[in-house]
Symmetry: C2
């Protein structure tokens, strides 16, 4: 299967697709990265109608080459399953896991074939995986959904690598909803990781316009929510047992973060007082450290909020990054 | 160019695409309807990042066959331009209009080739057009966007034809935002017709779950907004000059409706008192007629709201449908 990394679709390394064919069958397997994968009427393209997961792929040296591993895979598949159910999409994780495994093996194989740079053997290689499912083609009423599933493996972007090292500048902005907007209104898809991310990307462009690197969304009453593609964490000031806080999901519509949950479990085992709560921008301004966390980028320090520097306790940030596996 | 109408992509008649190629060039033209058109990393697919217009295509008998016309084309292209600007996408309508023209001509030609059904000659044939633009492939920071543009022509679905004749049952539900949520927050993309329609389609599924055909969205304070793919109109009770009302767009985030605007202009010329205002569900319950309007389906009567029958003044509905060109 030819895979060309081109000037245009630069970051894609591997693509695997499963989709319905005109004859009623399915096509499943690897495709070239520059090969189109969905037709013009796929509801993922026309309506942003589907869900996704962003996962990290790491390669460990193994006999005969490298072995690919997706950290926290179970949590990602479980969240994808919840998203699928919220969208009335098929929720069996087996086909996703199979396609993911196919793409991960292909990546590990092709990575092994590449000559290693000096000293590179010691470090695990990594990549970004995206697992997406769309509603596929419109079906007659009452007919079962024939979803399109797409798995991509991409190089981790330079901005993410820089953010791990240097932290990020963040601009806060409203998400427009009141803090309880999603109570009893499942059609608003609160906490569902849908493909309809136009507002999330517009918020990130607004952040760049304001001289920041990423956005931090707040509810209409000013309470903290999340980043467009991350959860927000903070270490409150004061002594004693180190504390770690994040915003609890619920009727505020925020997404349950797999990387935050994993980090909090590990931090608790390491002796931290780590709990989900509510918060405000003032809590961040008085914190010893503020972080955004997501699966691929990991926990990164927020060094500036709305143009004002934040305290960054580098030792704490490093400890949390290490606990998270970065 | 082979075009097969298949069991799966049933409604598609014509597809035209313009997209960036790996070698830096562009590919523009007609493609087979069952041919995939976007790659796995197209931001329209991965983020619902783009905008679209739904347009009606009608065919008039002309010398040598049929001539395709898009009613209200200027208003659609102008709205697409506003959507593009709101998303920081290229806003020159010329490429869209060219691709649209190509697809419309192909449709008219292929429609002419089809044997006419008995008595069909007298009526203009029609189809549904979708003009979409995505942000294309991720580009390095500072590089210009290379959008993907897709135009599809589809058969008008049976449900739309039935709705014109029989009206629809509607279920009201909150959109979650307060009535002024979009003031000063352009990143929330209020009034922008983005490809991120997952909440709109979830609202329509919720409506079906409640035994209705379509949804009617309200603000968090209960004031009227719009349907997921339509504007709401009503004819208040009482005598005198017939009145026509709709919800004014603005900081409520609703979309300026091209078909509502055209209808209101024509209604005013026909002697109606037609203005945009604010409204509540109570206004609909006391109205002589309530309608949803959109470009392809046209104005259709709402005959039931939340399980309760509404008054339907059939003569008024017919007059409004005729004024709108249906």
């Amino acid at each position: 299967m030819p895979r060309t990394v081109t000037g245009v679709s630069s970051a894609l390394l591997v693509v695997a697709v499963s989709r319905a064919l005109p004859d009623g069958g399915r096509s499943s397997g690897l495709v070239a990265v520059d090969e189109p994968v969905v037709t013009a009427d796929d509801l993922g393209l026309t309506r942003g109608d589907g869900c996704f997961e962003g996962l990290r792929l790491v390669a460990h040296p193994a006999e005969g080459g490298l072995e690919a591993e997706v950290p926290n895979l179970g949590a990602h598949l479980a969240r994808m399953q919840r998203s699928a159910r919220s969208l009335d999409l098929p929720d069996d994780p087996a086909p996703w896991a199979q396609l993911l495994d196919l793409a991960a093996r292909e990546w590990a194989t092709s990575t092994t074939g590449r000559p290693l740079a000096r000293g590179e053997e010691a470090a695990p290689r990594e990549a970004a995986v995206k697992l997406s499912m769309t509603r596929g083609l419109p079906q007659p009423a009452g007919e079962p959904v024939q979803p399109t599933v797409v798995v991509t493996v991409s190089a981790v972007d330079a901005a993410s690598l820089a953010a791990r090292r240097d932290g990020v500048r963040v601009a806060s902005m409203t998400r427009g909803y009141g803090p309880e907007a999603f109570a009893g209104a499942p059609w608003l898809l609160g906490g569902v990781k849908t493909l309809s991310y136009a507002v999330h990307t517009a918020a990130q462009r607004e952040a760049v316009r304001r001289g920041a690197d990423d956005a931090l969304l707040t509810a209409a009453d000013g309470t903290l929510l999340e980043g467009p593609t991350s959860a927000v964490l903070w270490v409150p000031g004061g002594g004693g047992v180190p504390r770690l806080r994040t915003v609890a999901p619920g009727s505020n519509g925020i997404l349950g973060s797999t990387s935050q949950q994993l980090l909090f479990e590990r931090a608790q085992r390491a002796g931290w007082d780590a709990t989900a709560t509510t918060g405000t921008l003032a809590d961040l301004r008085s914190a010893r450290a503020v972080l955004l966390t997501s699966a691929v980028r990991g926990p990164v320090a927020v060094r500036e909020l709305d143009g004002q520097p934040l305290a960054v306790d580098s030792a704490l940030v490093s400890e949390l990054q290490e606990l998270a596996g970065f």
